[in-house]
Amino acid sequence: MTTHACDSCAATAELERMGVKLDRFDRVVALAGNPNTGKSTLFNALTGLRQHTGNWPGKTVTRAEGGFEFNKVRYKLVDLPGTYSLLSASHDEEVARDFLLFGRPDVTVVVVDATALERNLNLVLQVLEITDRAVVAVNLMDEARRKSIDVDVRRLSRDLGVPAVGVVARTGDGLHALLEAIDGVASGATTTKPARVTGTPEFQRAVSQLVPLIEAAAPGVPNARWIAIRLLDGDAQVEDALRTGRLATLAAEQQHGAERFSRKIALEGAQ
């Protein structure tokens, strides 16, 4: 863990909690993680106690958002439902996955439990399949120490190919380093090279055959590989997004410098 002069004074001077003042913001950060990892505690530590809550469009899944300012940049933080994976068909996982895929947050912070790293990394790896703009917040470092588990955050960061920061959300320990990591990924100062699961040779061959087709059908789409994997799995929602042109529209907007789709969806909640 990087040491900082003011690591323990929670917010640090540069952080301003903005609560529900969300009218103007520069970047969108999504907060993902398994249930019971202290995701909400981290959310509150970053945004203050006041938050905007509602439902995800068309779903009875609670959606919370709040704001904070760090280094003169205004961030909007969107709390995704706590999930173990992004694979199955539950509403929670659908909401989290759709936000990562169509909402395109500038940075996705995945909160993991330092005492159950193995289980938590499943979600991290699945998030990294979708986006490479991610930061891993290794929470509950104090509990891990108590259970005499030594977590090597730098090695984790190297293996995953994205920044990993040890934090204790409850006390605010490590928040500054986390904010710097978010800032780095959001501004592009930090380059990431996420770890991706390769699979069997037949699987790789199938994926590499699909990718060019997808890129032709939806030019400029950034995660053609992930879409290929979902199509191979017969994911009806992704098939639908491709058919209705939702993916292509998204890519085109990105290319023509139109208003960022993530902003729109983050503001309005949905398309």
Binding site: S85, A89, D152, G199, G234
Partner: protein
């Protein structure tokens, strides 16, 4: 801009490529993520102090082991039933004698006041007797069964049950969490149907709703326990009586689980076609059960709740039984007439008309099946409490020609037949579909008739 054509080309290509992958590709993809997660985690996290495997993990190695998991589960279930069977007899008898003494006093009072016989009969020997029977038969087993069950739940054992049964449910095309809703069904099928809300996929949820009825609820356990005691337990002596009876109940529960899986399998391959979805089940740490919490949850939330519901349905049912038994046409009661009418159908499935009549009257609440049967058999025009199981056996075997087949088929019918009215209404409320509510009632009923008919034919 894309065209739909380009998109369809991609999708068709994906479908074609999917064929080139091995059938277990989906599992393989999940597994490779897990393998990678394990690899990365092993490199990053180290257990510094030399700690022994912690207690939870050691226990889980045993109770969720592929070999011992299911036998341990069956043993625990058997122990719970044995304690319930062995412990409920005495308080049930005490409670019954108290409540029926009150009935006599009340009836005596009414007579002394000069009220007509039919008022006394209707109030005391009809409505009140229905209530008294249900309370005395249901309260003691529930007051023992629910705390035990809640204790297992509080201890954290139920997620392990789901873990042990997951592979069976997945093979049946159903959701692993159905093991949990099934377990809730032992308490009350209506509660089990509501509990299916934990299943997110609509298809799998519907499978869980339609098959919840195949585990016997608390209202049906007394019937099963009585039959097991008279016809199975009586073959043995001493302590073995209750052990054999508990064993027979466990056997019936086992058959119920088999039917749950078989019908889930059938539904997943016909009207509710689809694959089982993956889910992550967190095994929570074992916790020391809190005594007060257990007592509160099991006695207030469950026992009183179920009992109150039974009381609400037993009172009108008691009235109906009394009326049917006391209005006569041509020298025989209406109850007897109806029973005679149903007799051919009943005989075909190894039962008789009286049993079927009892099941019709008991649609609101399964608890009153046995008292209704006895009332019609004995022609007393009111529900009857017999002082001992030996008396009961005499009535059933000697006077009405019951055999082991009758007992076996009655247990099967009780296990498989349509759910009670409350459960059917709950199915409607949860699915908002009259069609599925009808399927939820008629599917089990036809299975019950089919199975008992087959057993009676090959017996």
């Amino acid at each position: 801009m894309t065209s739909r054509v380009a998109a369809d080309v991609v999708i068709q290509r994906a479908a074609a490529l999917r064929e080139t992958l091995r059938s277990g590709f989906r599992d393989e993809a999940v597994r490779s993520i897990f393998t990678e997660a394990t690899r990365v985690a092993r490199r990053a996290a180290r257990q510094v102090a030399d700690r022994r495997l912690d207690f939870d993990q050691r226990v889980d190695r045993i109770v969720t082991s592929p070999v011992l998991g299911l036998p341990i589960m069956a043993l625990l279930l058997a122990a719970v039933f044995w304690i319930t069977v062995a412990g409920a007899n005495v308080p049930s008898a005490l409670l019954a004698s108290l409540l029926f003494w009150i009935e006599d006093q009340g009836a005596g009072l009414f007579t002394a006041l000069g009220l007509p016989w039919w008022v006394t009969g209707f109030v005391w020997h009809g409505v009140y007797k229905g209530l008294a029977w249900v309370v005395s038969v249901m309260l003691p087993p529930m007051a023992i069964f629910f705390p035990l069950f809640t204790m297992l739940e509080d201890l954290g054992y139920l997620p392990r049950v789901a873990f042990n049964l997951d592979f069976l449910f997945r093979r049946a095309g159903a959701h692993g969490k159905q093991a949990l809703t099934m377990a809730m069904g032992f308490g009350c099928n209506a509660a089990g149907v509501i509990a299916t809300r934990v299943i997110n996929s609509p298809r799998e949820r519907l499978v869980a709703i339609l098959t919840n009825n195949f585990v016997p609820c608390n209202g049906r356990f007394p019937t099963l326990i009585m039959l097991a005691t008279i016809f199975v337990g009586a073959q043995f002596s001493g302590v073995f009586t209750s052990i054999a009876a508990a064993g027979a109940v466990v056997g019936i529960v086992g058959i119920g689980v088999i039917f749950t899986l078989a019908v889930s399998w059938g539904l997943s391959r016909t009207v509710l076609r689809g694959e089982a979805s993956a889910f992550t089940l967190e095994l929570p740490p074992y916790r020391r059960p809190g005594v007060m919490r257990i007592l509160y949850t099991s006695l207030i939330d469950r026992t009183l709740f179920v009992l109150w519901r039974a009381v609400l349905t037993a009172a009108p049912a008691g009235a109906v039984i009394w009326i049917l038994g006391n209005i006569t046409a041509g020298g025989t009661s209406l109850a007897q007439h109806t029973a005679n009418f149903l007799n051919p159908l009943g005989t075909a499935i190894g039962l008789d008309g009286v049993v079927l009549l009892a099941y019709i009257i008991a649609i609101p609440a399964n608890e009153i099946v046995v008292p209704t049967m006895l009332m019609v058999y004995m022609g007393t025009g009111q529900m009857t409490e017999l002082s001992s199981f030996a008396d009961l056996k005499t009535v059933l075997v000697d006077t009405h020609g019951w055999t082991l087949l009758t007992a076996v088929n009655l247990m099967l019918f009780s296990l498989l037949h349509n759910p009670c009215a409350t459960t059917i209404i709950t199915i409607y409320k949860e699915t908002l579909s009259k069609k599925w509510a009808a399927v939820g009632a008629l599917l089990p009923l036809s299975i019950a008739f089919l199975v008992t008919w087959i057993v009676a034919t090959i017996w």
